[in-house]
Symmetry: C2
Subunit: 193 residues, 2 copies
């Protein structure tokens, strides 16, 4: 941070996280993520190794890094949502939080393609998915006395969402993630009613 | 196999897979699975290393090995089930297949406790869970034209079932896995209706 500040008022070197992330994701997809080092990423992005690590601590962070912000947004949306019907609450809060990603469609799609491409890369996100799950579990447990339901509903929501989003990424569906999730959730609910 | 046959009609040495599996699972839980080698398991079960590997190829097989049989049973139950309502079809077929485990409650409970204890051990079962998921996806795709629904419903069923079963294992719930799944599925369905 200090180092950046010292450079003064000129446009900061190409350390726009969005651009660097996109370069990295394209490299992972083109060459196979196992064949790409963080040095390769730095070189392709035209930045120094230390600048790269300031943005992304690992290949895992490039792929899954965005999710913590989503989890924060989700927690806010759940908190602000006056809905007391659990299904509608989870449906609308999740879709609202997803709008966060509307401006970075291509990044989200590449991330999800990578996530779906190997169980190992999916597994890198365990902590992030578990964070989202526990945000939901906490909210559901405020609305029910059933001891099992918070765990079950939060697990279901995570896996349904991931299934929908991976399907969206793999089919190059033109809708935004929030649109496709909204439709996918509605279809899921319709199957049960 | 030949070696066993050569021994003739005497009771085979203690290579009852159920007993050996139980010994191994208890050892994993007591000492921490990372601290136990397959040699330790052989010693605790009082069998040779080669006899142990004939039953279980790895620690992963001890924990997740039973699932392939379940998947075969699930495919049979789905095939034989005349139900055309997707939710009832999946609910009843899964619960019926679960009866396979009614005789080995303690083993199932120990396995699930281990599975829930670390993302790594959960991850060992990726192939088995994916096999179950694709059995379900195939059946659902015969009953719908929606392109996304088979993937979404199969993912949901796997994660809902695992959430219910892990909850059952961790709370030492006295019911059988099939009873608790039946109740858990019904509760999940009720939330949506």
């Amino acid at each position: 941070m200090e180092e950046l500040a010292k450079r003064g008022r000129g446009r900061p070197v190409t350390t726009d996280p969005g651009a660097v992330g996109m370069t990295a994701l394209r490299l992972f997809i083109d060459k196979g993520i196992d064949n790409v080092t963080m040095d390769d990423v730095a070189e392709a992005a035209g930045i120094s190794r230390s600048n790269l690590f300031r943005i992304f601590a690992s290949k895992s962070a490039v792929v899954w890094g965005g999710m913590h912000l989503f989890n924060v947004e989700l927690a806010k949306k759940l908190e602000a949502n006056p809905e007391t019907d659990i299904v509608r609450l989870l449906h609308t809060s999740w879709v609202e939080a997803m709008h966060l990603l509307d401006d970075s469609l291509e990044t989200v799609r590449l991330r999800l393609k990578l996530i779906a491409s190997s169980p190992e890369i999916y597994g890198w996100g365990h902590g992030q998915l578990e964070e989202a799950r526990s945000v939901i579990e906490k909210k559901v447990s405020e609305l029910t006395d059933d001891p099992m339901r918070p765990r079950v509903l939060s697990s279901a929501l995570i896996s349904v969402s991931m299934a929908i989003l991976v399907w969206w990424a793999e089919t190059d569906d033109p809708r935004t993630p929030s649109e496709v999730l909204d439709a996918g959730f509605s279809d899921f609910e319709a199957v049960f009613s």
